[in-house]
Structure formats: C-alpha cells, structure tokens
Symmetry: C2
Subunit: 454 residues, 2 copies
C-alpha cells in the first residue's frame, strides 16, 4: 500500500487533477493521497497559498477583503468547472473561508496559519469530491479528526508520537483517503502549520503511521538531478539515493525534498519515490536505506550561497580546555546555529548562515569573544558558498578528495575551507561566492561527464 | 643583547661546556645564559634529571640514597675535573642536594620537584664558576632572588606578569648572568617546575623580560628540518619560519621546540634562533614574526600518532542549536581536550589524543552522548595519525590542497579526515596510523624533493 503526495503544480488546475486521478486509478495500492494547495499553473502565476497570505493580511489590517477572497475562490471555481463538479463544493469552500476570516484575530500567528492552511484543506475536499464523481471510492479526512497532533510551535510544528498512533487507524479505511498536507492540531485543538515544504512532511508522517510500502512524492520533474540544472546543462538523473545522501544534498540548494520531511519515513525505513505527475511512467528517483549500485562514488553535488565565517585566533588556544565550547555557547546565546567549525591549532572558524547575523549581533559577538575568551583576533567574513559533494561510495574511496580538490583548482578558485568528517558521505568546500557556479560545473565534469573536459 | 639557552646535551660534559664558553666568548652580546641540567653524553647515558628522579623516589620510600646520590654527584665531579675547577663547587652542590633530600617530604609533588630542579640549579652554579675561572665576568642568578614568580600548578607552572617585571631588572647587570632553567617560585616561596622542555620556557621568559634582540636556543642539531629525518632521508633544513608555522609544526611530532616556550617571545616579538652547540657557525633556523622568502608555499610537514575519533550521528542534528556545544561540554567535564571537530549535516567527529581516554571514560562518554543528546550512533575509533602540512605561503595558493590530497592518494591510503581552517597556515589530514610514514614521505616528495618521484 502506498501513500502518494501531490505537490502544488500537480494540483494547480483541473487538467492536473485529472492526471492525479489517472495516477490513482492506475494503481489500486495508492490508498492515501496527500495534497498541497493549488500551485502555479504558469511561471507568472500566483500560488493559492500566497493569495491566502494576502487575504489574511488584508483581514488583519481591516482592509477590504472581498477582492482578495474572490481571487482565491475563483481558483477553486475554475478547477471545479474544469472537473464538471457541482456548485456545492465551491459553496462549502466559500463558507469555510468566510468562517476563518471572521474568526478571532487576536492571536495573529494562529489567525494567519488558519487561513493559510485552508489552501490544502479545501483542495483536499475538492479533490475527494472529484474522485467520488468519477467513481473512485474516496473520502476527505481532516487532520483534526484523524488526530495529527503537533506541538505548539507556530509555523514550525512537529508531530507528537501520539499523532502516529492516531493516524495508524486510517489503515483500516475501505476508501481512498484524501488528506490535506501542511498542518496539524495541538492537543488544545489549535491549528499549527509545518515548516516550509509542509505537505511533504504530512505525507511522510502519514506513510510512517500506516506503515506504507512506499511513499510517493509527485512533483513536476522526472527525477532528482545530480546537480542543479540551472547551472549544469542536462545533468545526470539520480535513479537511487540513500536517505543520508538525500539529506546531505538537501542541505545546500537541493530543494526537491524538504529535509525534515524525510525524518518519519527514514525512521520507519519506508522507501520514497520522487515522481513526475506529468510523466508518471518515468521511473523517478528512489530514496532508500541502502543502495546496491555504488559504481559511481558520488551521487550528487549541491551548492548554496549565503554563508559567513567567524574567525577567532588565540595563541595556545588548543591548550585551553573549553575554548571551543565557550565560543559555541556565545553563538548559542545569540540563537545562531552553525554548520562547521574547522580549526587550526590556535585558530577556529565557525561557518554559519549569514541570514542569522545583523551588524549589531556581529558587533556583540566579536566583543564577547575578545573580552570573555581573550581572543587576539576575531572577525566575520561574508559572501561564501558551500559546495557539498555527496556519495555513499565516498567511504574508503582513495583519491576522491584529491580529485575534487584538483577539479576546483582547475577553475583557478581558492578553497577557503575543506571539511571531511568521519562519516565520509560528504565532503564540503567553502569557496568565495563568485566562484560557486564554475566550481559546480567543474566538479560535475570531473565526476559525472562521460569524458572530463577539464 | 642576546639570551642564549643551552640544552641538556650542550652542557652534558666538560668538553661540551667548553664549547658553550667559547660560544659566549665569541659574542659579547650574549649576556644571559640559561642552562639545562647535564643531559646524555651518549645514547645509552642517563640524564642527570632522571638520576635525580630516581634519587627522590628512593628518598621518599626511605630506601638507601647514598648510591643514587653518588651517581648525581659523580657527574658534576667529572665535569668539574674536566674544567679544572676546585673542589669547592662540588661541595656546594653536595651540600645543596643533601639539604633537599633531608627536607620535609610530606608534600610529595614539591619534594620531587625540588630535587629535580637541582639539576639545572647546580649546573648553573657550576657553569658560572667555570666562566669566572676562565676570566669571563659572570654570576649565577637564582630564579628566587631574581623573582621568577609562577602560579601554583605543580609540574606545569606558568609565569605570572610580575615575573617579567622582576626579571627585567637583570638588564642592568654588568656581568654575564648564568640562569638555571626549568623552575620558578610561587609567591609563597615554593619551588614549582615548568612543563616538559621547561628550560626553553625559562629562556623565553627571560628573553621577553629583558627585551633581548634575539633568543638563541642551542641544541645538538644544525637546524629544524622540514620533516622528521627519522622517516624522510636527508630532509631540507628550514632557514626561516614564522612563530605560527613553528607552533603548528610543534603540534604534531616536531619536538625541537616546546610550543609553550614560544609564547613569551612571540608576544614580545623577539626573534628566536635555533642553533647547534657543536657547530655554532651553521646559520641555524630563525623563528620570526613574518618571513620574507615565501617562494615555497609549504614550510614543513609533521606527523603524529596516537589519535582517536569520537563519531556521533543523529538525524536532523544540524537543526538543533546547541548540539555541538553540549557534546564538547561532556568531553570538557571528562577533562578531555580535542583537536578538531569535522562535521557533516547529521554527524560530527571529535578528533582527540588517545592518551586522555580509558575504557571507563569511553563507556561513560558514549552513554551520556546517547542518553543526554539522544544520538542514534556514537562510538570511538582508535589508531589514527594526524599529518599537518604547514606554511604561510599556503594562504591563497590555489591547488595546494589538491596537490597534498593527490600525493596522499598516490600512496593508496584513505583520508579519514581533512581539516582546513580559514587561517590557511595549516592543512591537516587524519589517516590510519599504519599509513603515516609513507604519506609523510610522499608529501615530502611532492613539496620538497627537487624532482617529484611520485
């Protein structure tokens, strides 16, 4: 039995939803369908979620809401019309939305979340109605009645253990379950949304709960590429990838699959298949616990910009037990998370995402590092990119780091930082942002191009 | 004006001390002479310090001490005889030693330190007497009267700021100052010794105190080699090296100069020259703040064994602010210092010196990491070596990491860890111990051999 999640573009229009229905009909084991809100139909289109954010904002500011409400309702109406559905479902959706808009807005986070989540919720109702209309035995299931219990973190909720227990009951459903992604409810009954890519998270939780044989994630690409196709021309498609590899890749610029979404299926050891709604016969990319074919040591290369480096030096630093810990504590107190901490004997660098910094925070950190840790030097540098080379086959592959470093040196770029941990699933390089794309291309040539054109 | 320190082999016999006198006579700016205890005269010889440790141990255990005392006194007598000195100096030394042996032994650490430090102290008295006998205006100066005040750490004392102030008074001495290395006194007047290589530390403190133009460190080698001559045949001699480079090299197996000893002269920006007592006309190796000739990007390569790796993994580790800090805190509470912490997204490794571990400590650490940090995996691996490639010229030298990694891959060895910080003075590789020597040789070939014989 499969849990199949369909992303925004897969449910953006009547035509797309017809493809979804065909996919569901073609395989009777597709018993759980998780849906996103209608996404973009064309490049300049607006996602329903964004229209809902506009609507919520207007309502909060006591502005005129009818125009904004119509924009949302028109999307559903157009879909309903294209699917030959009766007017009833659109009335249900309108009533639901008006209820949310007129609800108490004193808790702003809740108010916005509640309106945002309607995108998925109403789309699930609509799709369930459509499934029934074409003879599929389907029912919309609300995360509230199904018991998707989450903790109380607005916009970044995490499912609680009892959510899995509650949702496992759905296994006994005789009908196809159509389930809205992106949100759950606290024990107190308050709606809370997941982090970005939240529908992936819902699908993953559901798959783990019902012990699915496979979690299918339908998007608009045939598969995951081994490198960003916007930088590298026609990159190799990944057939099979391990959870660990996927996770390391999702770290830096591989936006196909939200990393947190992997957690529930990873823990339950349920394989994932990323497939294309527009080309469902393509095999897609399979995410598994262990992969057999390891003939290629590298599975993918990702690159991401927006990193800063905090450099700290102090003579005899390595004699001081606790220096590194104290440095990290200062960052922790500023609520800053870090990526890597390469170190020399008397210096340590902390690589972190720049968006966490402000001029004020930087000043405060430098001051504390100098005063409390008596560092001789401490400064921030910005505009760095991280390039991550990922592959289970890297482990014990002599010379791989040499090949990667040599490829980078061919571009004439300097390597600011190298980090290779003992897991050896990944090897990361810190480089100046301006060199990011040419390095990605050269590493691709080295590890994936049929003939290296160094 | 120069401070010249002579190591154990340089003052091991009458012949050696004559060489020291000639060196002092040849340059009138050599006003401060810091001496070690008599060292080995030949490979199987015993250092006086070791004889003194035996003596102290016998005294503590209320065993017969006369034989052990004679072994020490005989060394001084032989030297005095060879230098045509009168019996008086030997009587002074004997009286001093008997006083130390018969002193209160309730504080064992102090008792042993006090006897150990007599090696340097009495040798300074003897050498000063010899200098005077050949017409040099010299005086023995005690660290106690000169005010070398240290904190109260037995066997690892650190000089306090007032020590520098007190010792600066010696600048006004009209005579050559002969100063014993290795020890100082607490404010309460208790003798405390420095860490290993403690005479180097005394010399460095004295050089900083009197603002010497140069701190000369006389040993038994012509210069510092760029790689261990016991592994690499006839390695290149280093003419000039920066404090930072020397420090990074002293980290791993470069035992020529004790790293802590560099601190005082580094802070005072006093250049250091490592010279050979047996070949004083050789230029030696100069340690400076900045070096001019950077035509070679690499200055030296060191290698050291005895490292362990603590590997910890947890899914979504990088989402947890504070994970790394908490891990380091656990190690800190076990009084363990670490070298590097390479990290992936969901794993972190801590490289540390194995001698700090016991089976019991390992068990405790693993237990805490699993229970308190909820890590999915945590284990230790042992028998690793660190290879450190050091050079100020590394900074912005494109392709250097690639050359080093390629050289290592030529040996067929796997690289367990790479660490390159942002200072770029050093690049370190973690490798299995069994591959250490062949990697050192291959890196030497790559960076130093006239023609690489890959």
């Amino acid at each position: 039995m499969k849990v199949s999640k369909f992303g925004g573009t897969s449910v953006a229009s009547a035509d797309q939803i017809k493809k979804v229905a065909a996919i569901v009909q073609s395989d009777r084991s597709r018993k759980f369908i998780v849906v996103s809100a209608p996404g973009k139909r064309f490049d300049s289109d607006k996602k329903v979620t964004d229209l809902l954010i506009d609507l919520a904002s207007a309502a909060l500011n006591h502005e005129e809401v009818e125009t904004k409400l119509s924009l949302v309702l028109d999307r559903y109406k157009e879909i309903a019309l294209g699917l030959d559905l009766e007017q009833t479902i659109c009335d249900v959706i309108e009533e639901d939305l008006r209820l949310r808009i007129s609800s108490d807005s004193s808790d702003v986070e809740y108010f916005v979340d509640n309106i945002k989540a309607s995108g998925e919720d109403n789309n699930a109702k609509l799709i369930s109605t459509y499934f029934t209309s074409i003879g599929l035995r389907a029912q919309y299931v609300s995360p509230k009645t199904a018991g998707l219990i989450v903790n109380d973190f607005p916009e970044r909720a995490l499912a609680l253990p009892e959510a899995y227990e509650n949702l496992s009951e759905l296994k006994n459903s005789n009908e196809i379950v159509v389930f809205p992604g992106f949100f759950g409810f606290t024990k107190g009954g308050l709606l809370r949304t997941f982090d970005r890519g939240g529908s992936d998270i819902s699908g993953s939780i559901l798959a783990a709960s019902v012990h699915a044989d496979l979690y299918e994630n339908f998007t608009d690409v045939d598969s995951v590429f081994c490198a960003n196709p916007r930088v590298v021309n026609d990159p190799v498609e990944i057939e099979e990838i391990t959870y660990r590899e996927m996770r390391e890749l999702s770290y830096a610029g591989f936006s196909v699959f939200h990393d947190e979404a992997l957690m529930p299926v990873y823990k339950a050891r349920i394989p994932v298949c990323i497939k294309n709604t527009n080309n469902p016969s393509a095999p897609g990319t399979k995410i598994v616990a262990e992969r057999k074919g390891k003939h290629r040591p590298i599975t993918g290369i990702s690159a991401d910009s927006g990193f800063s480096i905090l450099y700290v030096s102090k003579y005899l630093m390595n004699r001081e037990i606790g220096f590194g810990r104290k440095l990290l504590q200062i960052l922790e107190e500023e609520l800053i998370s870090y990526e890597h901490t390469p170190s020399g004997l008397d210096d340590i660098s902390v690589i972190l995402r720049s968006h966490q910094l402000t001029a004020e925070k930087e000043r405060r950190i430098i001051k504390r590092v100098k005063e409390e840790l008596h560092a001789e030097e401490a400064h921030f540098r910005h505009e760095f990119s991280m390039i991550v080379v990922v592959g289970e086959g890297m482990n014990n592959n002599t010379g791989l780091a040499a090949r990667a470093a040599t490829a980078i040196s061919r571009t004439g770029s300097n390597i600011e930082m190298i980090n290779q941990g003992s897991s050896e699933v990944s090897l990361s390089f810190g480089v100046h942002r301006s060199n990011e794309n040419k390095i990605l291309q050269e590493l691709y040539n080295e590890f994936f191009a049929p003939v290296s054109v160094g």
